[in-house]
Amino acid sequence: MKIVKLKKSNLHPFLQAASQDAELWAPVRQKNNKHSFQPIKDFATIDLNYTRTILPPRKLFLPPQFNMFQASLQGYKEDFSHVSPKVIFGVHPCDLHGLLIFDEFHRQNFEDPYYLKAKENTLIFGHSCWPDDKCFCQSTNTHLVEEGYDLFFSELDDYYLVWIGSSRGDDCLRLAPELFDESLSEEDIKGYIAWQEKRNQAFKLKINFFAMPDLMELRYHHSLWEKLGQACLSCGSCSLVCPTCNCYNVQDQPLLSQDASNIQRCWDSCMLENYSAVAGGENFREKRSQRLKLWYTHKLQAYISKYGKPACVGCGRCIATCPVDINVFTVSRALEGEEVEAFWNRLAKEVNP
């Protein structure tokens, strides 16, 4: 893997060159001060001083709602209008790992053309980050990345070290080779190592993930799940913001003045009551506690057992999002038998005797 150097003042000219035939997306600070990946018209709106966007970058590849195809008695016409050439800049390591899990999921058994086509048409430029009090990607071992990007920008003083992760990334640099410096000095290398060490020390939140499969098993029937079920609002937010949640629903939308239907796909969530409802009025997971158990089995147990890594990339979005403090951190502490300062432990006595 080649590493080159880019002066900060050369960043915008480079992005300009790289996104000539594509739409550039990058983090933008919203009115509410939270960040979101947005299409960029003015480079000045890019704000790299962020920890996490509200929605993870998977929204670029599979939008919350889109049309898959139009069907009629004559056949069907696929609709790939969500696919267009894009460059996404500023993706943090946790989210790059999230996309790697997404790649795996959408390639195994059946290939999902809606995801894969969008992915093929997108250049991914990663960016280094600094953890806040909700980040724990060090615990999930997703704080560093070796693959899953075309270029990766590590920010140091007034320059970037740029990792080239793919031949497409390499082609990109060749669009404006004069902006880059191929020779790294000893000082640059030392600067990077020092930054790495400092960052490693900066993680405050730690979770012992590799103990979780056993703890999930041991506490599978623990009263803790009932307690969580009493607090959960079934709002679905935790899974809608999670970079590794991939469930969706498909609905037919008949068209009024044609003998045809649009077949639409939208994000779904296993936290919603209707998710496990089947024909005949049955529901496999009618109780909120059962649905929570499923979600946490996915995040803390099943994936680790199968792939040797958790289906959580430590981004902290569930921590930042759940209105009643049910998240990977509080649940893992509760599984460890710790007292957790969370809403569900303060839920009024009459609900939670």
């Binding site: 929204k59 609002l233 079934s234 709002c235 009024l256 003045s257 909120r288 009024a348």
Partner: protein
């Protein structure tokens, strides 16, 4: 559905007529709507109304007079499918907040005194308090998109889909920062989605105007809001606003704890 057009009737009981108006507001689609079905009765739109056998009756408004009870029962008798249109028809609307018949009598007397009423009034109720309802289309008022989806499915003979997800789902689709998490009084988790989370998308908390979502956790949100500093009375009032008669069981359980 090929061949014979479906016979449709659109009726208004007690409400603001906003749902019927919303149908007329589908201006671009109106020709297609009128072409697809045979609108037999629609007081707001035409005067030559025929009140006969119907395939589908769309009923807006809550039931607040004895006359409406009779009208509604008659509509049911004449129609294969009855749809509750809008919040008032599905849950009883804001006017169904006073469910205690005693209190209702008191309020009634306070407003109308001993005046003899032409149309004797009854406690306001959703239409399913009197008749069997086949489909519910909530909203205050209903949304165009939601109505057209629903209408098209009925016309094509596909069973309409209900909206069993909370406003939070659309709110996340729109990538809003959660107002409830930030300490605001947002009823999104308890409210049926259908508006596409318009209010939170404009930084306004959801007040619940689509009515209670199936499976909403009222107890937990009640305590959560209390935890955030809102008073019991305030929470109760706000929760009751658009829940009509559908929360009566919850309040009974709740008041036992008070």
């Amino acid at each position: 559905m090929k061949g014979k057009k479906l016979k449709i009737g659109i009726y208004e009981l007690t409400g603001c007529a906003g749902d019927a108006l919303m149908i007329l507001n589908c201006e671009k689609e109106l020709p297609a709507i009128f072409q697809a079905v045979d609108i037999q009765s629609f007081l707001m739109a035409k005067s030559d109304n025929i009140d006969d056998e119907l395939d589908v009756a769309l009923v807006e408004g809550s039931v607040t007079t004895e006359k409406e009870v009779e009208e509604l029962k008659d509509i049911r008798k004449r129609s294969k499918i009855v749809v509750a249109l809008g919040l008032c028809a599905t849950v009883g609307g804001i006017q169904a907040r006073f469910q205690d018949p005693q209190k209702w009598q008191e309020n009634f007397r306070q407003v109308y005194g001993e005046t003899k009423m032409e149309l004797p009034a009854v406690v306001s109720k959703p239409i399913d308090a009197y008749i069997k309802v086949d489909f519910y289309l909530p909203g205050c008022p209903i949304s165009k998109e939601q109505f057209l989806n629903f209408f098209t499915r009925v016309v094509k003979g596909a069973p309409p889909e209900s909206y069993p997800q909370p406003v939070c789902v659309s709110c996340k689709y729109k990538e809003n920062d959660c107002l409830l998490k930030n300490g605001l009084f947002c009823l999104g988790p308890l409210t049926a989605d259908g508006c596409g989370a318009v209010c939170p998308s404009h930084n306004l908390p959801c007040v619940g105007c689509w009515g209670p979502v199936q499976g909403g956790n009222w107890t937990s949100e009640f305590y959560l809001l209390q935890d955030k500093g809102f008073s019991r009375e305030f929470i109760k009032k706000k929760m009751a606003n658009f829940a009509g008669t559908k929360l009566s069981e919850f309040w009974k359980q709740f008041d036992r704890r008070d």
